[in-house]
């Protein structure tokens, strides 16, 4: 586990509200969607909403016992806790129906228990990856000015030419170019930080490079970087 992740875990353990909110803001929607998918027909939207909160509450309990040496991915870690929360809810309902009330497993036991066959699928992993990209974009948007981010949005995320962007916004091409460079550089920094924070394994750490989002601020890499980002953004915004 990299030092940033360790630091983030420490913040969570110390109940840093900002760290918890980040986790909630970035991954809450995925947890809700996942819980709804698993509980389809058994739980409603509101219950999924509650359970996604409970997932984080359970995570708060589990964070003290989290053992990095187990080698679990960050995404798998979230996945297990969400599964546990849903399973716990279903068990509780069944127990109420039968007039019993026995919880099958404690949370830490559940995390160590052998999988029941349901593993994070590719779609889930992609959602986690996209959520990290979105988190970095949001962080950049908060940091840079609206004009600069709009240049970046139109030029990179929406794939327009520099001249089109300059024409649309009524700016000079050089202003577009400056704004673009500024935002791109900031985004590289934030992407590195976000992926470092939410990666428990070297494999997760390397996902940025694998997807063409190199953190190297080399002009030669810019077209690849922009292209990769544009594709991810298109995928992200097509999902609602």
């Amino acid at each position: 586990m990299n030092p940033t992740s360790t630091h983030f875990i420490r913040r969570l353990r110390e109940r840093d509200s900002e760290a918890w909110f980040e986790l909630w803001e970035n991954f809450g929607p995925i947890l809700r969607a996942q819980l709804q998918r698993w509980g389809s027909g058994r739980i409603g939207w509101e219950t999924a909403q509650d359970l996604s909160q409970e997932t984080l509450a359970a995570l708060a309990q589990a964070i003290d016992k989290h053992d990095p040496s187990r080698g679990a991915r960050f995404s798998t870690w979230l996945f297990s806790i969400a599964r546990y929360t849903l399973g716990d809810e279903i068990d509780r309902r069944m127990a109420i129906k039968r007039g019993q009330g026995v919880r099958p497993l404690a949370l830490d036991q559940a995390l160590d228990a052998p999988s029941d066959g349901i593993q994070p699928d590719r779609a889930y992993e992609q959602q986690i990856f996209d959520a990290k990209i979105q988190a970095a974009l949001r962080a950049v948007e908060r940091q840079v000015g609206l004009e600069d981010f709009e240049i970046f949005r139109q030029r990179v995320l929406e794939g327009r030419s520099g001249l089109e962007v300059a024409e649309e916004l009524g700016l000079s091409p050089s202003a577009v170019s400056r704004g673009l460079t500024k935002v791109r550089d900031r985004l590289r920094e934030h992407l590195s930080a976000v992926f470092a924070r939410y990666s428990f394994t070297p494999e997760e750490d390397a996902e940025l490079e694998r997807n063409g989002l190199s953190s190297n601020p080399n002009k030669e890499w810019n077209p690849t970087f922009d292209q990769a980002l544009s594709e991810i953004y298109a995928r992200l915004t097509s999902r609602s």
């Binding site: 110390e14 109940r15 509200s17 900002e18 918890w20 909110f21 909630w24 803001e25 219950t47 509650d50 909160q53 409970e54 984080l56 509450a57 708060a60 309990q61 809810e89 509780r92 309902r93 109420i96 919880r103 979105q134 974009l137 949001r138 948007e141 908060r142 000015g145 609206l146 981010f149 709009e150 949005r153 995320l157 929406e158 649309e168 916004l169 009524g170 700016l171 953004y233 992200l236 915004t237 999902r239 609602s240």
Partner: protein
């Protein structure tokens, strides 16, 4: 010669003289000397006939019956004769033995009655005989008719019964006939009202809808009759849900605001109002009704100076009907705020809850408008990718401008709507109105921010701040409304909600300046429009230009003016209004003109408005005194510093009003740091660990002050909090863990809490008064309280 008979004492009144001593009577009738003879009847004595003044004895066999007379009981006789008039008193008890007239009359009536009775019996007997005879005669014909009808049903009725069984309409009717009957009845009533009285034009679509409803009603009645016996009496009958609900839904959809709500529900009574229909419910647990004030009630309200609209919306909170206490409390606060906007006709609180009355805004919701605009009502699942027509874009611009004007009004009254979304916006005749003021919150509220609102139209920054436990007055909550306004504009342009916040893509071609306005409204908090006024100015700029679609973002008034001064406060202060007057506006000219006037002019104008701003500040600080309780008799050092800054050249490009606003905010911030402005956050202690603790926390949060997380700040060391500890203790018995998904608390439990004298004292439901006292607040499951997550609290 005829005899005239006199019967004393009726006829012979006077003068009558009797002499019983000799068993003789001497009588001289009135008018002595008359030629007519008189017959005098005396008991046991001969009859005397008097003629003239002579009396002749006739004897007992004269043909005149002499009946027995009672023995006189007393007599008084004195008489005279020979020219003097006779005088006497008749003897008591004298009677000829005849029947009294009253008795005679009674006997006659009895005789008549008996005669009629006898005649009636005779006729009855004859009728019975005739009826019997008729039934005997027609019996063969009736038997034959029944045989034929039975055969016909056997042959023609079977397919119909099979079809009925297939559709299940009969079963559905039997199951919920009564409730559905009400639905149709209400629907028809609502529609008829909209059709006949609302300001709708009876166009072909409405006529068709009315015909459809009538048809449905008749069909249902017929179905009820077919099903038989009691269902047939349901009058308006019921709608077979599976068969007709769809078409009925479409029909009702044409009635503004009507909701095809099903289910057997109690329809409340609101004194003075006639309910026309039920409207879709909001998320607060309240029920909404479209109603019409009764004439007498409207007159009474008008006498009190209330402007009574023709139709009203009644918002009803009832614990019995599923409203939660938290919703009632929240609504109480909103009610208070809504009154400031003149949006409340009246409100009534009762044992079971409260209701209040608002003017009804006719029209379609923006949701419906967007669906029409993007062709979604034609069955398309996704909006078309075609660019919107220029006229449609211009209408979008107009509607957005209306929305911003409304928001400006809200913010000017110091209020934050908090739930701007298409479902809460009504479009009518090209104008947009804001409705549903259920979450209305004062911008200066000491409440902690909550996460209420609607996802995708709610600023993520608001959630972030709520999680941190920020108070409303510490943030610029008006900007949250601006985010929502941007999201609404996005929806109008795209036909769908912004699923990824400001990262959402505008896929349909739209004028660059309009896209920019969306981006700026939904931008990060610091880059966002500073006020509704600023956003409206951009929209107004586009509306002013004929070729607005070619305007670039950099041409907009707001470009490069970030951050701007905050939203204008209520212009209730005469001095502030004076600042806004044309002369003052002319004095506070924009920088371009000021350049021509030169430095001297600038100095002189500054000399004019600085004292004004100062006085305004004093006025504003005094206004805020009751809220904060902070005595502010003399301006303190920091306040003077604020005014000095406002007057400095760094604000030269701002208008006088904006300078005053900025200064006011600074002063209020200073005031908020005073001892009375501090509300400490504390947590509820003593929740058990584990699942029960979580459930109890969840229950508590849902039942009482809910997510508002306004904590009853129970820091044992805090003397103010000590006052509220008993209340927390008394509430603790409400915390019986309930399974998830069930009602969070029983009505009795909520009622108990509501009726608690301390709760009553602080909550003041009647007035919906904003509270400054510490409130019951529960830690949410996550967020800023995460350092003490539920299940671990108290550790």
């Amino acid at each position: 010669m005829s005899l005239q008979t006199y019967h004393p004492p009726q006829d012979v009144v006077h003068p009558i003289v009797t002499s019983y001593g000799q068993h003789s009577i001497q009588v001289t009738p009135e008018g002595a000397g008359s030629e007519a003879p008189l017959v005098i009847q005396t008991p046991g004595e001969p009859t005397w006939i008097l003629q003239g003044s002579e009396a002749t004895e006739l004897g007992g066999a004269s043909g005149v019956h002499i009946g027995p007379a009672p023995e006189p009981t007393s007599h008084t006789i004195s008489y005279g004769y020979g020219g003097d008039p006779w005088y006497a008193e008749w003897v008591d008890g004298w009677d000829d033995g005849g029947m009294p007239w009253a008795l005679q009359l009674g006997l006659v009536l009895l005789g008549v009655w008996l005669a009629m009775k006898v005649i009636g019996l005779v006729f009855q007997g004859v009728g019975a005989v005739l009826s019997f005879v008729w039934s005997i005669v027609t019996l063969p014909f009736r038997l034959a008719f029944r045989l034929v009808r039975g055969a016909g049903r056997l042959v023609f009725g079977a397919p119909r019964r099979v079809a009925r069984a297939a559709t299940g309409s009969a079963a559905l009717l039997a199951a919920s006939g009564k409730a559905m009957g009400r639905t149709v009845s209400r629907g028809y009533e609502s529609f008829a009202d909209a059709y006949n009285r609302a300001d709708l034009e009876p166009g072909p679509a409405l006529r068709k809808a009315k015909a459809s409803l009538l048809f449905a009603q008749r069909k249902v009645e017929a179905a009820g009759r077919r099903v038989g016996h009691r269902l047939g009496r349901l009058g308006h009958g019921a709608v077979p849900v599976g068969a007709d609900a769809g078409s009925m839904g479409g029909t009702y959809g044409e009635t503004p605001g009507f909701h095809l709500g099903g289910g057997a529900e109690v329809r409340p009574e609101f004194p003075g109002y006639k309910i026309l229909s039920e409207l879709p419910r909001g998320g607060s647990g309240a029920r909404l009704y479209l109603a019409r004030p009764r004439r007498e009630h409207a007159r009474r309200l008008a006498e009190r100076g209330v402007d009574v609209p023709a139709q009203v919306v009644i918002k009803w909170f009832s614990l019995q009907a599923g409203a939660h206490m938290s919703g009632i409390l929240r609504e109480g606060r909103a009610l208070d705020a809504a009154k400031q906007l003149g949006q409340v006709v009246e409100h009534v609180s009762g044992q079971d809850g409260l209701f209040y009355v608002m003017p009804y805004v006719a029209g379609e919701t923006l949701d419906q408008y967007i669906a029409t605009l993007h062709g979604l009502e034609q069955g398309h699942l996704a909006p078309s990718q075609e660019p919107l027509r220029p006229e449609a874009l211009r209408e979008v611009l107009h509607l957005s401008h209306d929305l911003l004007a409304e928001l400006e009004r809200f913010h000017a009254h110091g209020l934050w709507h908090k739930d701007i979304k298409p479902g809460n916006l009504i479009v009518h005749e090209g104008r947009m109105r804001v409705v549903d003021l259920g979450l209305l919150t004062p911008l200066a509220s000491a409440l902690t921010l909550t996460t209420h609102g609607t996802e995708y139209y709610r600023d993520p920054e608001m959630v972030r701040l709520a999680m941190r436990g920020a108070q409303v007055r510490d943030v610029d909550a008006a900007k949250f409304d601006l985010y929502s306004a941007g999201a609404v504009l996005f929806s109008m342009l795209e036909g769908t909600f912004p699923a990824h916040g400001n990262l959402s893509r505008l896929t349909r071609p739209c004028p660059p300046a309009l896209g920019w306005i969306v981006r700026r409204a939904m931008a990060e908090h610091d880059s966002r429009y500073a006020s509704a006024q600023a956003m409206r100015a951009d929209l107004a700029y586009l509306l002013e230009h004929k070729h607005w679609s070619s305007i670039k973002p950099k041409d907009l008034p707001s470009w490069g003016h970030s951050p701007e001064p905050v939203a204008a406060p209520a212009s209730v202060d005469p001095l502030l209004e004076a600042l806004e007057s044309p002369s003052a506006q002319a004095a506070a000219t924009p920088p371009k003109r000021r350049k021509r006037w030169g430095w001297k002019c600038k100095k002189s104008r500054m000399a004019l408005w600085v004292p004004l701003v100062f006085v305004v500040l004093l006025g504003l600080s005094n206004r805020s005194q009751p809220r904060t309780g902070f005595a502010f008799a003399q301006p303190s050092g920091p306040v003077v510093e604020v005014v000095r800054q406002a007057a400095s050249s760094q604000f030269a490009s701002w208008s006088a009003r904006n300078r005053a606003d900025w200064a006011r905010q600074q002063v209020e911030r200073l005031l908020a740091q005073g001892p009375e402005g501090r509300i400490e956050q504390v947590y509820l202690h003593g929740l058990p660990q584990g699942r029960d603790g979580r459930l109890m926390g969840s229950l508590l949060s849902k039942t009482m002050a809910s997510e508002e997380a306004q904590a009853l700040v129970v820091q044992p060391s805090d003397p103010e909090a000590q006052r509220w500890l008993p209340l927390a203790a008394s509430a603790s018995h409400l915390l019986d863990p309930l399974p998830r998904g069930e009602q969070p608390a029983t009505t009795a439990q909520i009622q108990f809490f509501l009726e608690h004298p301390e709760v009553q004292a602080i909550l003041d439901l009647q007035g919906g008064r904003e509270l400054d006292a510490p409130r019951m607040v529960i830690s949410p499951l996550i967020g800023p309280r995460m350092e003490q997550p539920l299940g671990r609290s108290g550790q």
